[in-house]
Symmetry: C2
Subunit: 373 residues, 2 copies
C-alpha cells in the first residue's frame, strides 16, 4: 500500500507503542494520588514536560498536554476572549484549519478581520504589522498549511506581535514532527499541536503557553498540570507523544532535504508527463512531504477512488472537511475557481515513505489517468 | 501490592490493551479521509457507538466519545448556559466531583442552588421536585459518589426532571463499570463518564445526549461524530473503552454481591478490631468497592504513608483534590468536622481484588496502627 495521506494521520510509531505499553504496565497510577507509585507517575509526567521543552525550547511549565489541536484552539481562543476587551477584534489567516476557524468564530463572533495574503496564501510580517496598526488585538496564523504545505514566517510574525504586545496563536499541527521544532517553544506565542500527525496516538496534543499564564483555564476542574488542564493525565499517551516527537526531530536533521527532492522530482515528473497538471503554491516554501495538485481532468472523487483501488491512498484535501460540499476553504481563499478546486488532490508522505514509493505513486497516477474520463 | 485506589484510576484491562493494539495496527487511518481504509475505520467507530448503546441503552447516535468526564462536564454545562435563559439557575448536589463543580461555577456563576441532602449525602427525588418548583432550570446529581460510594436514585431523579422538562446532568464516572449500566442510556439525562475508572486507557470518555441535540457543540471544528465532538477520533482508545466496558458489564452480573460482602466483612472487622473507626454513610446503599473510613487517630497522610510502605495503596479521598489543603468538599458537605475529616481514608477495590486481598488489607491496617501515634 502506498500511503500518501500523512497530513490526515500517521500510523503509530514503534517507539510510541513501546512507550505507551511501558507506562500502562509500570506507571498507570493516577499522578494525583498520595502514594509513592503515584509520585513516580508524577515524576514521569514532569520528565515529559522537560523532554518537550528541551526539544522545542522554553520552560517545561509552559507546556500543557491535552487531547489535541482542536481542544487547544478552543482553550486558547476562549482565554483570549476572557482576557481581551469585550469588543476586541482578532486578525486571522483565511487558510487556517477548520478547528481554528470554528473556535475563532465561536469566541470572536463578527469580530474577525481576515489577513490579506500573497500568492499561495503566504502571510508577510508587514501584513501582520498593518493589521495590528488597524487595531487587531490578536493574531492567528498557522506554521504550515495542512492542504498546500505552505510555510508561514512564524518566527518573524511572533516578533512583530511581541513588539506590539499582541498575543499570537500559531497552529503548529502540520509543522511539528516534519520540520525542526526548535524555536517554536522559545517564541512568544501560543502554540497548539496534535501528536497523531507524527506517529503518536490520536487523542494527545499540546499547548505551549507564551509565558507564565496563571489564569489559563483556572479553575476548570482538578489541579492537574498547574491547573491548566483538568482531568486525569493520559500519561501513557503523553509518553508516546514525547517518544514519537523525539524520534521525528532526529529524522529531520538527516532526512529533510533528501525527502524534499523526492517530492520535487515527483511533482516535476507529474507536470511533464500529465499535461495540464498544476501544483498549488509551487513557488513557495512548503513542507517537504506535501503536494496539492490540480489534476488536468476528472474530479477529485474519481481520482481518489481510482488511485485507492490501484493501491495508493491520497486525499482530496483536509480530512476534517472531506464530508463537506463545495471546494475547501483553503482553495477558495487562494482564489481558485470552484471548477479547478474540484480537481484538487492532496498528497502527503511520511518519514517511512521511500523514493521508490514516490516513483510507484507516479506510475499509479498514470494508470489511473487512463481510466479517468 | 494491595491496590485499593481504583476510584482514582485502574490498571489497563488486557482486553483493552488488545483492542488498542489491534486498531493501531489495522485501523489507524483517519476516519474522515476519503479512502476505503478510512471507511473501514468509520465503520469500526460506528460499531463502538452501537456496542455502547446495546450495553447502556438508547440510540448509538446519542453517544459522543471524548477525552473524559472533565471535558464532558464542561461541554454539557456550556451547552446548558447557551440554551437556558440568561438568568436561569441550576440546582447542584454539593458532593459532586471537583470537575463538575468547577464547570457549574464557570458557566453559572452565582446562579447555583445547592440541593439539600439526607445523611450520607443522599439526594431524594422529592428534594429535586422542590428545587424545580423553586425555579431550578437544570439539575446536577452524580450516580455514585467518588469518595463515599453513596448511590443516588438517578433513575427517579431523571423521571422527575423529565416530567418538569428540566435537563438533568448525571456524572456516572464512578458507576459505569462497577454497577449495571443498563438503563443509564435510556433515561432522559445527560450522562458523562471516563474509561480509566474501569480498565480503559486514560484520555477516553463519553457523553450520552438525552436525545437528538443537533446544536450540541456545533460548530466547534471538524464534523466528527455528527459535529458533536470535533477532532480526529481516537479510534484505538474508543475500541479499548468499549472492550473494557463490555468486560466490566459481564463481571457485574456474576460478581457484584460477592464483592459487596467482602467489603462489608472488611468494614465490620475493622470497626470491631480498631476501636473508634467510623465508616461514612455506612447505612446507605454504596458502591460495592468503596469504603470511606474515619480512622480513630493519627491523620490521613500518616495512614496513607504507613500503609504504602507496608504494601497497601489507598487514598485520602478524591485524587483530583489530593493536593488541596483542608478537608475534602464532600466531607465538608456531609457536615464532618475538619478534625474528623483529617483522619479520612478512601479504600476502593477493583474486580481483580480477591477476598484474600481484603483480609491482607485488614492485617496491614493493624500493622500500620501499631506505628501511628
Amino acid at each position: 500500500m502506498l500511503y500518501f495521506d500523512h497530513n490526515a494521520t500517521t500510523p503509530l510509531a514503534d517507539c510510541a507503542r513501546d512507550a505507551w505499553l511501558r507506562i500502562q504496565a509500570e506507571n498507570w497510577h493516577n499522578p494525583s494520588s498520595p502514594t509513592r507509585a503515584a509520585a513516580r507517575a508524577r515524576i514521569r509526567l514532569e520528565s515529559y514536560h522537560e523532554a518537550v521543552a528541551v526539544l522545542l525550547g522554553g520552560d517545561p511549565t509552559q507546556y500543557v498536554f491535552n487531547s489535541g489541536a482542536t481542544e487547544g484552539a478552543h482553550a486558547v481562543l476562549a482565554h483570549w476572549a476572557k482576557q481581551l476587551p469585550p469588543h476586541a477584534r482578532i486578525a486571522v489567516s483565511a487558510t487556517e484549519h477548520a478547528c481554528v476557524l470554528a473556535a475563532a468564530g465561536h469566541y470572536f463572533p463578527k469580530r474577525i478581520d481576515w489577513l490579506p495574503h500573497e500568492s499561495g496564501g503566504l502571510l508577510t510580517p508587514a501584513s501582520i504589522q498593518t493589521a495590528i496598526s488597524a487595531g487587531a488585538a490578536g493574531i492567528v496564523v498557522m506554521a504550515a498549511n495542512n492542504e498546500s504545505g505552505v510555510l508561514q514566517p512564524w518566527s518573524e510574525i511572533a516578533t512583530v506581535c511581541q513588539c506590539a504586545a499582541v498575543p499570537y496563536l500559531c497552529d503548529a499541527t502540520q509543522w511539528l514532527g516534519k520540520l525542526p521544532g526548535a524555536g517554536l517553544g522559545s517564541i512568544n506565542a501560543w502554540i497548539i499541536a496534535s501528536g497523531h500527525k507524527f506517529g503518536a496516538p490520536k487523542g494527545v496534543g499540546l499547548i505551549k503557553l507564551p509565558r507564565s499564564e496563571p489564569d489559563f483555564q483556572k479553575p476548570s476542574g482538578g489541579p492537574q498540570q498547574n491547573g491548566h488542564r483538568a482531568g486525569t493525565e493520559d500519561l501513557a499517551g503523553i509518553a508516546a507523544f514525547t517518544a514519537a516527537l523525539t524520534q521525528a526531530e532526529q529524522k529531520k536533521v538527516i532526512w529533510e532535504s533528501q525527502r524534499l527532492s523526492w517530492r520535487d522530482n515527483f511533482e516535476n515528473s507529474l507536470i511533464n508527463s500529465l499535461q495540464g497538471t498544476q501544483i498549488i503554491a509551487k513557488e513557495r516554501e512548503r513542507l517537504w512531504n506535501t503536494s496539492l495538485i490540480i489534476a488536468p481532468r476528472g474530479n477529485q472523487t474519481q481520482w481518489v477512488s481510482k488511485l485507492d483501488k490501484l493501491g495508493a491512498l491520497i486525499s482530496t484535501g483536509s480530512a476534517c472537511t472531506t464530508a463537506q460540499n463545495g471546494p475547501s476553504h483553503v482553495l477558495a481563499a487562494l482564489g481558485l475557481q470552484a471548477e479547478c478546486a474540484q480537481r484538487s488532490l492532496r498528497i502527503s508522505s511520511g518519514w517511512q515513505t521511500s523514493e521508490q514509493d514516490w516513483r510507484d505513486l507516479l506510475e499509479t497516477f498514470h494508470k489511473a489517468n487512463l481510466t479517468i474520463n
